[in-house]
Amino acid sequence: MLDVYSWEPNANSGKPLFCLHEKGIPFTYHYIDLVAHEHHGDKFLAINPDGTVPAIVHDGFTMTESTPAMEYIDEAFPGPPLRPAAPFRRWQMRILLRYLDNVVTPSLAMVAANRAAGPPLTGRDADEIRANLDRIPLPERRAMWDKLMFDGTSPRDIEESQRRVMEAIRRFDRVLARNPWLAGETFSLADIGVFATFHALPLEDDYEVGDVWTPHLMRWLRACHSRPALQAAFGMSRGPIARRAADVRRQLGVAGVEQA
């Protein structure tokens, strides 16, 4: 029995979805609607008391850390190996994932959340917002949402996050100038992790991403978007992420399943 409780095929939510599609492992997908706060509802909190997605449950064993869960999936199931065999390559895969998880994804999330925070909340009752915030189990998450909803994040923090995302883009481009994939000669969990967060980057005008600035990253994005398994994972989207993926494919000139 393999159950994945997750939102759209995007960022941390997307990691197990992309990973399981690449391995070719069937699973039951339980869509957790973040916009409807389902991750803070009693039903989901019974699975993960921290209220974070994704949660992966395999034969009664619950995993809530997406990167260690990807290593678990690679170890526990058959299918193509998603980690390089050589120890130093494996270290390179892990350090890129660590950098992604601890520095890059939070920075990108801060920028994106602050851009999106305004419109959907205007007109909502402050008490109602406060009641929703009180349901968030982890104090650091609660503080983050509180900042977003009430104080606003400081422009300095947002600028620093944008700087970090741009720094990451350049770093990944440099790595990909030397190797076809992020951890060397073979597609790995590092590619899945970075792709889950960066798959729609060419649509973002805030960052200098394109054939002129980041040719190696662009080559890699085309290679990832061309993979049937990753396209199939986008097919699990209820809408927004699948539409973005289709937009990126069009921009990159990559054929999608719907055109094939």
């Binding site: 270290w91 660590r98 939070p106 959340a113 104090p139 650091e140 503080a143």
Partner: protein, 239 residues
């Protein structure tokens, strides 16, 4: 040839030294003095732009980031196995390895800096500019002193960490399965500082601290486990 750059008073260094001893490995050792900020000396920053120990050199590879050094040692020297026999045990070891970096170590460093009244000596200030930008920013924050809000956030994070560790030790002798593993090695040197800093831990954690401390690999470096005012990883900025 293997070479380890490490320091006394660095919990992260202790994790690597315990792992090396458990595996019977004896690399060449380069001891840095954190009191004199030797980790920010230009020659060392050239090796690691974060200006942080430990750093493992293995032939021409430079390996950084403590838990990933432990995994690298496990991959290059699988005997005796320390990361667990099953995917479940390995998941738990990696979960704890990550938790140390995102929750335990960053907040312990901040609480420790305040408790021990940490200072950046004047002759070390100019060298901060050689560090990676985010690392330099963290040190500048430390130099100015952490504010009351940050200290409250860190104290709360540490008390949650102590509770989580106690919960996983409630029915187990070890953190990730039925044997001593990289999870225990990654967490122990940080938890071992709690007492000296006046941070409380529950009885199952006390018992576990004693179990880990009894291992010869830990006894060999016991004199280097003291708390020292120095920075850890940056605390999470968003969630």
């Amino acid at each position: 040839m293997m070479r380890l750059h490490f320091a006394a008073g660095s919990a992260h260094s202790a994790s690597v030294r315990i792992t090396l001893a458990e595996k019977g490995l004896e690399p060449e050792l380069h001891r840095l003095n954190l009191v004199h900020f030797e980790q920010h000396a230009p020659a060392f920053v050239a090796l690691n732009r974060h200006g942080a120990v430990p750093v493992l050199e293995d032939s021409d590879h430079v390996v950084i980031e403590t838990f990933l050094i432990l995994e690298y040692l496990e991959d290059t020297h699988p005997e005796p196995p320390l990361i667990g026999d099953t995917p479940r045990q390995r998941y738990l070891a990696r979960k704890w390895g990550k938790y140390v970096e995102t929750h335990l170590a960053p907040h312990l460093a901040i609480a420790r800096w305040a408790a021990l009244n940490g200072k950046v000596p004047e002759d070390a200030v100019a060298r901060l500019a050689n560090l990676h930008t985010a690392r330099c920013e963290l040190w500048l924050r430390a130099r100015g002193g952490f504010d009351k809000d940050q200290l409250a956030v860190s104290a709360q994070a540490l008390s949650i960490a102590a509770r989580r560790i106690a919960a996983d030790l409630a029915d187990n002798d070890w953190l990730a399965g039925d044997r001593f593993s990289l999870a225990d090695i990654a967490v122990y040197p940080h938890l071992a500082q709690f007492g000296a800093l006046g941070l409380a831990v529950a009885p199952p954690v006390e018992a576990w601290l004693k179990r880990v401390a009894a291992r010869p690999s830990v006894q060999a470096i016991a004199g280097d486990l003291f708390p020292l005012a120095t920075m850890g990883p940056e605390p999470g900025r968003w969630g």
